[in-house]
């Protein structure tokens, strides 16, 4: 237990003194996950909106599939992206393996279904309520979509935050496709794994604190957004 206390003291020092290594890793984590969330939001929201408002054969299957993909195991995603980006894989020519971009791609694959499925549910409920009114106002298809997205903004942000939370806390996929290269693809979670294996717990714990803080911030924001959405929907 003493070890834990020592590590905790060291960890707090690292955080309080804004240790350069620590900051670099936190920054990279945020960059990678924010980029992934940005792309996944564009993809997931478009797909979610499409599934919500259109009717086509196979739509039900798509919905079931996205819902199932929400629970994709990160290591499997990591493996698939790894195989695709490997030099002998189909996209090997891009030379993206072991780069931050590869990590972004893995996280996009991981969280797009989450954002898609959650936003689809929200938008479908809303569309049921609004469709007739919007048609009555002779709003164009594009305009209707814009209105839907805006009206559902709090719920959609919640969906995006859910994706972000999963992306930033995930270790399996980024470890495989990023390679945990120091100063290049080393992020919070992979550093925690590495430092723990080195038996050097202070940096690992400091990063753990930061991850927990981020998780709490995300959850807090989600909570506030829910309240706002409820307020609006009443």
């Amino acid at each position: 237990m003493n070890e834990f206390a020592d590590a905790a003291v060291l960890a707090s020092k690292l955080v309080l003194h804004a240790d350069a290594t620590l900051l670099e890793i936190v920054r990279r984590s945020l960059e990678v996950s924010l980029a992934a969330v940005g792309c996944a939001s564009v993809l997931g929201l478009s797909a979610g909106a499409l599934l919500a408002v259109t009717r086509f054969p196979g739509r039900k299957l798509c919905i079931i599939l996205t819902n199932a993909l929400m629970g994709l195991p990160p290591v499997v995603v990591g493996l698939l992206v790894y195989l695709s980006l490997s030099r002998t894989g189909p996209f090997g020519g891009w030379g993206l393996l072991f780069t931050p971009t590869a990590m972004v791609i893995a996280q996009i694959v991981l969280i797009t279904p989450i954002i898609c499925a959650l936003s689809r549910q929200t938008l479908e409920d809303l569309w049921l309520e609004y469709a007739e009114q919007l048609r009555s106002l002779r709003v164009t298809a594009f305009g209707s979509l814009r209105t839907l997205l805006w009206e559902a903004r709090y719920s959609l942000l919640t969906a995006i935050l859910a994706g972000f939370g999963r992306a930033i806390a995930e270790v399996g996929a980024v470890l495989i496709v990023g390679g945990n290269i120091a100063h290049v693809t080393r992020v919070m979670t992979t550093t925690i794994a590495l430092e723990t294996s080195r038996g050097d717990l202070a940096l690992a714990l400091a990063l753990g604190f930061i991850l927990i803080t981020i998780a709490m911030l995300v959850n807090g924001t989600t909570f506030v957004l829910r309240e706002l959405a409820d307020c609006d929907a009443r």
Partner: protein
């Protein structure tokens, strides 16, 4: 009164009315919900679509408004450009409130119809005053009472200065005070020259508004006549029973 400030804007195309319906059917699967509807909606005083619950009043309004397509028969507006935004509007029985402020709800319709921003603000202000919602302008639309929501829905539709306004049982869920506020508004709207087409099962309301009555029963149009004639001398047995308060379905 401010109402005079809101005449129907001059449009250089020809007027949208009359609307002529010829032998219109509407069915879902094999169930025929409306059968052989033929009538004409002309400019002038309000038309009331009267009938008991389940007669098909809402469907008839939606058909006219173009929200659903007839299975058979034709609907012909006088002007081919009848579907241009803002020429006709509809207020639903349960008003659909966007998740924004009262003022923003009114402004939304105007923005859809590409009213320039400065004019928009002015028009929103006028509408808020006309519908007595000024004090609620900044409030979230979805926390309003049903009466206030219905007034807001009317304001949103009215702001676009439509030539025809369809109202589906606008007071069905309201208490007497809210009902009379909404009815006053409808009268004001009709006074600006907008053709009001209103559905109701409430005889008294029909008497208060109607210039023309379309009496629907079980998906069929039994009567289409001037209001005075209808109330004095209904031609069908169903309408006679309905007027006596004996027809419930």
């Amino acid at each position: 009164m401010l109402v005079s400030a809101l005449p129907i804007p001059f449009r250089n195309s020809c007027p949208i009315l009359p609307l002529t319906c010829v032998e219109v059917d509407y069915q879902i699967g094999t169930t025929v919900l409306l059968e052989a509807l033929s009538f004409t909606l002309s400019a002038g005083g309000p038309t009331v679509i009267l009938g008991p619950n389940g007669a098909g009043k809402t469907l008839a309004l939606k058909l006219c408004h173009g929200l659903i397509n007839p299975t058979r028969g034709t609907l012909r507006w006088s002007d081919a450009a009848h579907d241009m935004p803002g020429r006709q509007a509809m207020v639903f029985q349960r008003p659909v409130m966007l998740r924004r402020s009262v003022a923003a709800n009114i402004e939304y319709g105007l923005a859809v119809h590409k009213v320039p921003a400065p004019q928009r603000a002015e028009r929103v202000k006028t509408m808020l005053e006309l519908t007595g919602l000024v004090a609620l302008a900044g409030r979230s639309a979805r926390v309003l009472s049903s009466g206030e929501q219905q007034r807001l829905a009317l304001a949103r539709a009215w702001a676009m200065q439509p030539e025809v306004l369809f109202l589906d049982e606008p007071t069905a869920n309201l208490d007497p005070a809210a009902t009379s506020a909404v009815e006053e508004l409808i009268i004001a709207i009709a006074a600006t020259g907008t053709k009001v087409v209103l559905s109701t099962h409430d005889l008294q309301q029909a008497r208060r508004f109607a210039a023309q009555i379309l009496f629907l029963h079980r998906g069929r149009l039994l009567e289409s006549s001037a209001a005075d004639d209808f109330f004095k001398q209904p031609r069908s047995a169903a309408a006679t029973a309905f007027l006596r308060g004996e027809l419930w379905w």
